[in-house]
Amino acid sequence: MPNPPAAEILDAELETLLARAGIRLPDLRRDAVRAAYADLRGQIALLHGRYGPAAEPANVFRLSPAEDK
């Protein structure tokens, strides 16, 4: 993922994602959430583009054969 986009694009992105999730944020809280989102977006960016196809996520699981009771 490239560097985080400009503030207005981040705002629009956040609005879209929250609307998709059915969240209506009071106007008074928007600035605080925008700032936190910008910070989170930076953390998200750190994790993109680091891993190739063989890098499996931690939730890949292993089954065991059923044991005789």
Partner: protein, 465 residues
């Protein structure tokens, strides 16, 4: 005798010798709660009648020859996200203000079975994430070392209650540092056991793959005694590990001679928020451990920022998934800090989450590799002493002063242990990290730290004296 200055082991010996009764211990603790808690707000509910009933039963059983072990007759309290049958469990939230569980959490049940005396339910950041806040049904707990300062969270009441000598042990939970943070800032021992070591069943979740249950205590030995009661497999908790539980006190006093301890110095030494007194306390602790014969060496781990990013990107959508329906329909009933944090979970995409899980595997492998060469790691718990209420910090932000979330991501056991006081009189600490399920080694090193740093001789806050 001030019974609250007795360790859990000492209380047990006094009980069995007949020098004190469980009822006396409970009444002493209740009196201290009545005197101290109006200023500290550690408790959201004091269960006095339950405590006295538990205590009388403990006394009766000891007289009758039934000894339930080291927690028999010992007062304790629970963070208010632990279900307690017939006792209100609110998560410090308007949304669950009338919630009265029908069953105990596994932890509560185990402590009852062990003969513990439940004193009450403790303040928490709302749903173990939103705080300190003044827009919730209960006020935030205050730090007994200086009530103008926060305790850290989210196990805020647990930190305050133990530091103010109301109880020797209080249960916390730790998703990004919520046991180790309050322990660090309140001058306590606090262990986040290995993921899967203690059942989470009946504890309100924040983030299923990061949540851990553990105690905050006055001493490392108290923590070892408590974890002995709590650890073990629960087939009804999908994360619970079926791994044998050793005797946590067997090696507690063996010291650190010939142990190898790795220090991921870049985690804290280059962090902008690192306070000089924290760095000095870590270096002093390392020097003292070397004097005791430990080999302490700097090591390299992946960048701290990757651990923090993975933790937050995993936590936020897991938390949002838990709260989605209430966030859509009752957003105004959440505290502002809680809501502002939870909504971020809606902004994390599936690819973001999967990438964080890929990082988690990679980072866990890196910590395991380091622990293949060292018996344990030593790092900071927090980069600065407890901040004031009027200078709050976001413990999840990239600039967080907490250094705890890496081991929620990787699941390794990690413990905060106090090492001294900052010039402003607030506690300083270090964090010990062990191999998976090797809490015994974490306790052993933490016990040595407690001794060599002289923490045992540090006077508790004047407020609580």
């Amino acid at each position: 005798m001030d019974t609250q200055d007795l360790s859990i082991a000492e209380m047990g010996r006094a009980l069995r010798a007949g020098a004190v009764s469980a009822e006396l211990l409970a009444r002493d603790a209740l009196a201290r709660v009545a005197a101290r808690d109006p200023a500290l707000m550690a408790f959201v509910l004091v269960t006095e009648s339950r405590a006295l009933a538990d205590a009388r039963r403990a006394d009766y059983e000891l007289r009758a020859g039934r000894d339930r072990g080291p927690m028999h007759g010992i007062p304790y309290a629970l963070k208010d996200i632990y279900d307690t049958a017939g006792i209100r469990t609110t998560c410090h939230s308007k949304l669950r203000i009338d919630n009265v569980p029908a069953e105990d959490s596994v932890v509560a049940a185990k402590l009852t079975e062990a003969g513990g005396v439940l004193l009450g339910k403790l303040a928490t950041h709302e749903f173990a994430i939103g705080g300190p806040s003044f827009d919730l049904p209960f006020p935030p707990a205050r730090n007994p070392w200086n009530p103008a300062h926060i305790t850290g969270g989210s196990s805020s009441g647990s930190g305050a209650a133990v530091a103010a000598r109301m109880v020797r042990m209080a249960m916390g939970s730790d998703t990004g540092g919520s046991i180790r943070g309050p322990a660090a800032w309140c001058g306590l021992a606090g262990i986040k056991p290995t993921y899967g070591r203690v059942s989470r069943r009946g504890v309100f979740p924040l983030s299923w793959t990061l949540d851990h249950c553990g105690p905050l205590t006055r001493s490392v030995e108290d923590a070892a005694i408590t974890l002995q009661v709590l650890a073990g497999h629960d087939p009804h908790d999908p994360a619970s590990a079926d791994v044998a539980v050793p005797d946590y006190r067997a090696d507690l006093e063996r010291g650190v001679s010939r142990l190898r301890i790795g220090v991921p110095r870049a985690f804290f030494a280059t962090a902008p928020a690192a306070a000089p007194e924290v760095l000095a306390a870590i270096d002093r602790t390392i020097s003292l451990l070397r004097d005791e014969g430990a080999a302490v060496e700097d090591i390299q781990l992946p960048d701290y920022a990757l651990f923090a990013a993975a933790g937050r990107v995993i936590m936020m959508p897991e938390a949002f998934a838990i709260h989605e329906a209430d966030m859509q329909s009752r957003l105004a009933d959440y505290g502002e800090i809680t809501a502002n944090r939870f909504v971020l979970g809606a902004a994390v995409t599936a690819v973001d989450y999967i990438n964080a899980l890929r990082a988690r595997r990679d980072l866990t492998d890196a910590v395991n590799a380091a622990l293949g060469r060292y018996d344990a790691l030593l790092t900071a718990s927090a980069l600065a002493p407890a901040p004031r209420f009027d200078a709050p910090v976001d413990s999840l932000a990239s600039a967080s002063p907490m250094q705890t979330i890496p081991f929620n991501v990787t699941g390794h056991p990690a413990m905060s242990v106090p090492v001294g006081l900052a010039p402003n009189g607030l506690p300083l600490s270090v964090q010990i990290v062990g191999r998976p399920f090797d809490e015994a080694m974490v306790f052993r090193i933490a016990r040595a730290v407690e001794q060599v740093t002289g923490w045992e001789d540090v006077a508790l806050p004047a407020f609580a004296a």
